[in-house]
């Protein structure tokens, strides 16, 4: 199955990736090849097969709902890109 340029652009938008025009052409080609390749799975009979949820068939472990982490905000924010008063700054969202 060959993907169209529009489809690939839509996927890029869903994935929040800006893709340059030249890159888009290459992605159409390579993603189409990858989708073709994984399409061979469609032919596998799997009617009575339960999809795997965990390689060891474990279920999610639960823990008591207690605070276990101390507040270490200043330390974590040393990697912050733009801060004001301990808040992360982004472009204005609401006019």
């Amino acid at each position: 199955m060959s993907l169209t340029k529009d489809q690939v652009q839509h996927i890029a938008t869903l994935a929040r990736l800006q893709v340059a025009d030249a890159e888009l052409v290459e992605l159409v080609d390579k993603l189409s090849k990858i989708v073709d390749f994984v399409d061979q799975l469609q032919a596998v009979p799997t009617d009575n097969v339960t999809p795997m949820a965990h390689p060891l068939h474990m279920v999610q472990r639960l823990r008591p709902d207690e605070v276990t982490e101390r507040n270490d905000r200043d330390h974590y924010q040393q990697n912050a890109l733009e801060l004001r008063d301990g808040h992360y700054l982004v472009p204005k969202v609401i006019e």
């Binding site: 996927i11 869903l14 390579k30 799975l41 469609q42 596998v44 390689p55 040393q78 990697n79 204005k92």
Partner: protein, 494 residues
Amino acid sequence: MTAMSDKSTQLHTMGLAELAQGLRNGEFSSREIVSDLLGRIVASQPDLNSFITVTADEALAAADLADAAIAQGNGPALCGLPIAHKDIFCTRDVLTTCGSRMLENFVAPYDATVVERLANAGAITIGKTNMDEFAMGSSTETSYFGPTGNPWNTKLSPGGSSGGSVAAVAARLVPAATGTDTGGSIRQPAALTGTVGLKPTYGRVSRYGMIAFASSLDQAGTITRSAEDAAMLLQAMAGFDERDSTSVNEPVPDYRATLGQSLQGLKVGIVRQHFDAGLDEQCAARVKEALRQLESQGASLIEVDLPHLDLSVPTYYVVAPAECSSNMSRFDGVRFGYRAKNPVDLMDLYCRSRGEGFGAEVKRRIMTGTYVLSAGYYDAYYLQAQKARQLISNDFEAAFAKVDVIAGPTTPTPAFAIGAKMDDPITMYLNDIYTIGANLAGLPAMSIPCGFVDKLPVGLQLVGPHFAEARLLNCAHQYELLTDWHRQSPEAYS
């Protein structure tokens, strides 16, 4: 010249066990080891580019502390032994890039459990190794920091994604390094560089602080030059960690204690499908010689079937990108990592930070994952792949009802040229045909050197049932007693 200085000129040739012994006997100091290796690392960088960050000052300071502890008769199992960490593991106050522009300036605020446990066991971090960007690749060529060379021939790739770690171990820059393996990223590069690579059972080693790629497949492991060294390193790394929700609470056996067991009566499964078309004939010959050597030690070779082997690569390339697209969504240019300049609005900030911060292969995988998870395609791709995954896992279960371990090739060919497979993702993906199954089924597996083809190393892969790491290490150690493939080193780095 004293015996001490003779030995100290050969420090780089020694593995963990030998170095530990020498340190305890006072034959040399940790500072001598670290200084020697730092010199080798700096000298090798132009050709190998196996390190992204070298922590020389911290390593020398830690070596002095280790020497003081050893002098007082103290010191845990790995005291004073330098190792390198794949740059996917968070290291507190040290750059942790994951091979990506996205994290070019990221200084981890905490240690990964693997890093913490190895430090607690006395190991010294000498630096962080190069890798495919976010571990997505099989050649270390997708690193933002440039490709790593294969010490056996620097025009060739060392494989990937743990290419920096294997190159560093193969070139005698460090005795051991950590790696991670999502589809073969420890075993394939180990095979292509003549090193010993072990991927433990899913959940055996904590994933906490290990930057996630595909969370149901990712597992941390070891790269060393012998099975015994792998046992020493795994001993320190393995075990339950409440900070990893998929960590398994199973007792950790003494891995070194069973290395000496005989292979008499061991049932070794040979997979019919492994020797089909696609496997280089000379690699097949080396693997068959290794199998005969196991047989000569009393192991019996039993043919088994993995009928769904062909499905493992397409299954992986649905499951792994799907999980990748979800994990990679945390990199949004808001709190840490790369941020695009002068965004016009929030959407522009997200899209350009990600578009500029991620490399081509990472974007392809994010988009493949986004596509297979998108409305209308989920059942056809992701659900179908998880069903195929169960079939692949069932095949292994049936095989392990008959045999104790499965042995076969790690890779279809020896090392390939840098640049040779970058244009065709499918050819690159098929490199992992023999390794991916163990990830899909969560099984422990390792690659050990089993000979050469045209002066390039070939790997023998051993796969075991869940939690059979000790059996794999025993089998590998017994094989190493019969051969000296694991002791061969690239001429330029001997």
